[in-house]
Amino acid sequence: MTNSLNKKAVQSKDIKEIPKWTRKYAQNRTLTILVLMAMVMLFGLFVAVLVGFPLALAVIGFRKGNMILGCVGIAVLVAVLVAIVKFMIIFLSKFGGKNRGLIDQLIELRIYGKEGTTSISLPKITKKMRGLDYILGAIGLIYIVEVNHLCMVGYITFKYQQPLMALFFVPAFVFEYFFLQRPKVGHLVLLWPILYAIHAILILAGVPIFFTGNLGILNMPVPLIGYAFLAYMIVHLYSRYALKKLKRITHLEGDTTDGD
């Protein structure tokens, strides 16, 4: 009798943890973001190759005085740019404006279709917060372009490019998280700004974890995307753990499962 009561007590303690693990699972489902990131990266690479090839062809042609090769390069480049613009127009008409977020939904459906969906609403965002978000985005864009420009012209050494980026990205991400994403997204995503900040501190402390010379341009995208990818991968793995835990707790052992 005592054993049975103890077992029941342990069971109900476990059952009381169901909301916690459901929440953790819902907050950390980041596979959609990872897939989106990979898609954007692949698309970026594809565009870079598409544009880079005819551009290189044109430059080589004109440098060597081969006008035909140069003109063919320019013609192909124009055709590629027209095709990219056309693709972007079609893409935005399908997934932009009112349909913003549709592509995320489609990916989510494909990835989590069988597993089903759980969701936590985004926090109520005031107009002031939304405005602040836009202002932050605009400042960020100007800041990124300017830091990159100053690095290119040699006013700032490549060593300080990532720490300077961290000065904007780390507080911006923390702001985004605490005011615009929580509680829809779990605390674990803060791993990204933490890793990014650690990278900046290590550089300032003299650790040579930055690119120089022609590769200097990679100081911006590689740590930014690399740490984001790593953080979201860890978050995704945590969601799998949460789901496993949830399934273990919710498993009905010999209990009746019909609706009567």
Partner: protein, 93 residues
């Protein structure tokens, strides 16, 4: 002390607890997590809806029907009352 029999059924208790952790959950998630048959899950959800504990929203994901569930205020209150009763009974033993 009376125990809410609708919630006390193990499967329904788990469903209510899952729903209390998030804003909404769809049928597929409950099905895969609880490893129940579609028929059983549907009948449990009907019972919970009849009791006013759960709200059901039916829409379409493309051409596929998509059913989403939310815990109502009544459901939240009933669930916290249920745990209060269970804890009191356990203390009194």
């Amino acid at each position: 002390m009376e125990i809410d029999k609708i919630i006390h059924e193990p499967a329904r208790l788990r469903i209510m607890m899952i729903l209390s952790g998030v804003d909404e959950v769809d049928f597929s998630f409950l099905l895969s997590t609880l490893e129940m048959t579609k028929g059983n899950l549907s009948s449990h959800m009907d019972r919970l809806e009849q009791a006013g504990y759960v709200e059901i929203f039916k829409n379409f994901n493309g051409k596929i029907p998509h059913t989403v569930y939310r815990l109502t205020k009544t459901g939240k209150t009933a669930l916290s009352k249920y745990w209060k009763s269970i804890d009191e009974i356990r203390k009194s033993i």
